[in-house]
Amino acid sequence: MTDEELVKGCVEGKSKFQQALYNKFAPVMKGVCIRYSDTIEEAEDILQDGFIKVFLNLKNFRLDGSLEGWVRRIMVNTALNYYRAKQKSSYHANIDEIVEIVEDVRIDNYDKLNTKVLLQMIEELPPGYRMVFNMFEIEGYSHKEIADELNVSVNTSKSQLLKARRSLQQKINELTESENKKMAQL
């Protein structure tokens, strides 16, 4: 089934097509949701809500765009809603808005890193860093968009990204170091 057929069937409220669309995108979208959430359970909640939004709003989708991109955008927005709701319920210290010069962190031997490990690293980031890093680096949002979505300033977004990068960098370094040690022992 092409995306076009899928969309048409879903808009007409046909369960078969909705399931087909779900089966097509759910795994990747779960991957997206995992990056934006603290737990797998939360990720699946986001996934569930996101897909309901997708089905209810699919009639507004224009077929000239990428369906996957559109679905992904809805997932990210749903995840951000969850994040914002969580922020309201728990106290968060103000984020310092020091702007630092974003240095380009470069990594050696990145091919040793496997996807699961990288995902784990993102999971371990503080939620604020994680949101900004995901949005900027992976989904390709601009700092302006991030600032609007997260209701922070552009500078906060930039500094959060920098800190996220540093934190990840450090983790990767630790990992490679331990790997190297292991190699040396052999």
Binding site: E44, D108, T115
Partner: protein, 357 residues
């Protein structure tokens, strides 16, 4: 192999398309989502389908109508068939068939002919072709002459329906008569079914009970499990009470009694207060809900002296009379207000003033 890549790129390359199979309940929950169910029903509804549905219903009802008509005709035919089974009466079959094709007005005439014909055939077997003879006789014989020829009272009685003709024919065949009697006098249930009634739907004031009852049933079962014929309920919200009543013939019926709960008084007045400054019940202050206007409260002593007066519903009596503490005991109040339906209401009562020692 040495590579050099931006950290963001690394993560993007690895994670952009990262996929993991969601657990099965996610899709189940999506399907169960009421908004989505509503959407799907709306979306799949189309006028084309509606018209197809209407057309189908129309077709089926027309079909049923004809089927029913056929059934009624067949039922008539069945009676005739009982007779037809007998080989001796072949002639009679033919006569009856002829009769059935006649228009209604001719019935009495034709029947007379038939019966006279039958008598003829049975008395005089030598008659070669009875069916033909009917055809021949029919146009020639006038009704009057027929009556004169065969004025038997039985024939007069048996005019309207084919069944009756069958009986008249059967009269001459005693063996058959029994069967026909059995067929006609199908034993019907002689037990008369007592109808079941339940209390009417009713409106009650909140915090007041309602009496619900079921009449005429041999047993009842309420939705809460009780089996009383009469039941006193005190719902705090409007609710429907469902009761299954069993009639005396063993059949069940499900009855629903709707009890609507309304706020008859929007003001609740406490019966006592303690103006001792402990922060609890220090003021005599009615509690209200909903929209209240033109509120007015006056408090009197037992002797009728006015001790407090207000038009502010949020302002209560602090238990003081012109600055000094009022005595313990009973005081009377009068409250007047307009409720949410703009109806003027008045409430009177007494309140006890306590001071804890």
């Amino acid at each position: 192999m040495k590579t050099d890549k931006n950290i963001g790129e690394i993560f993007k390359d690895n994670l952009y398309d990262y996929a993991e199979n969601p657990s099965g309940h996610v899709w189940k929950n999506i399907q169960k989502n009421p908004d989505l169910i509503k959407y799907n029903i709306k979306a799949s509804f189309s006028y084309a389908k509606l018209f197809t549905g209407i057309a189908a219903v129309a077709f089926i009802s027309v079909a049923l109508y004809f089927a029913y008509n056929n059934f009624v005709q067949n039922e008539n035919a069945v009676v005739d068939n009982n007779l037809i089974e007998l080989p001796n009466q072949k002639e009679n079959i033919k006569t009856i068939v002829v009769k059935e094709s006649k228009p209604v007005e001719d019935n009495s005439l034709v029947e007379n002919k038939i019966i006279s014909e039958k008598r003829k055939t049975q008395s005089d077997i030598s008659n070669p072709e009875p069916a033909k003879s009917v055809e021949l006789i029919k146009p020639n014989i006038e009704p009057q002459t027929l009556e004169m020829v065969h004025p038997a009272p039985k024939v007069q009685n048996l005019e309207s329906t084919p069944q009756k003709i069958a009986v008249s024919v059967a009269d001459e065949k005693p063996v058959k008569t029994k069967e026909l009697d059995a067929f006609q006098e199908t034993p019907r249930s002689t037990l008369s079914v007592i109808p079941v009634f339940a209390s009417k739907d009713t409106i009650i004031c909140r915090w007041t009970p309602a009496r619900l009852s079921v009449l005429g049933a041999v047993s009842v079962a309420w939705s809460d499990g009780s089996t009383d014929f009469e039941k006193i309920v005190e719902p705090t919200e409007s609710s429907v009470f469902v009761v299954r009543a069993t009639r005396n013939d063993g059949t069940d019926t499900l009855l629903r009694i709707f009890v609507q709960v309304e706020d008859c008084y929007q003001i609740y007045v406490p019966t006592a207060f303690t103006p001792d400054g402990d922060g609890r019940n220090d003021e005599f202050l009615p509690v209200y809900n909903g929209d209240i206007s033109d509120y007015e409260m006056v408090v009197f002593t037992r002797t009728g002296g006015k001790v407090f007066e207000t038009k502010n519903i949020n302002y209560g009596w602090d238990g003081k009379i012109s600055g000094s503490q009022a005595e313990e005991g009973a005081y009377f109040y009068a409250i007047r207000y307009r409720d949410s339906k703009n109806k003027q209401r008045e409430q009177f009562g007494q309140v006890i003033l306590y001071r804890s020692r």
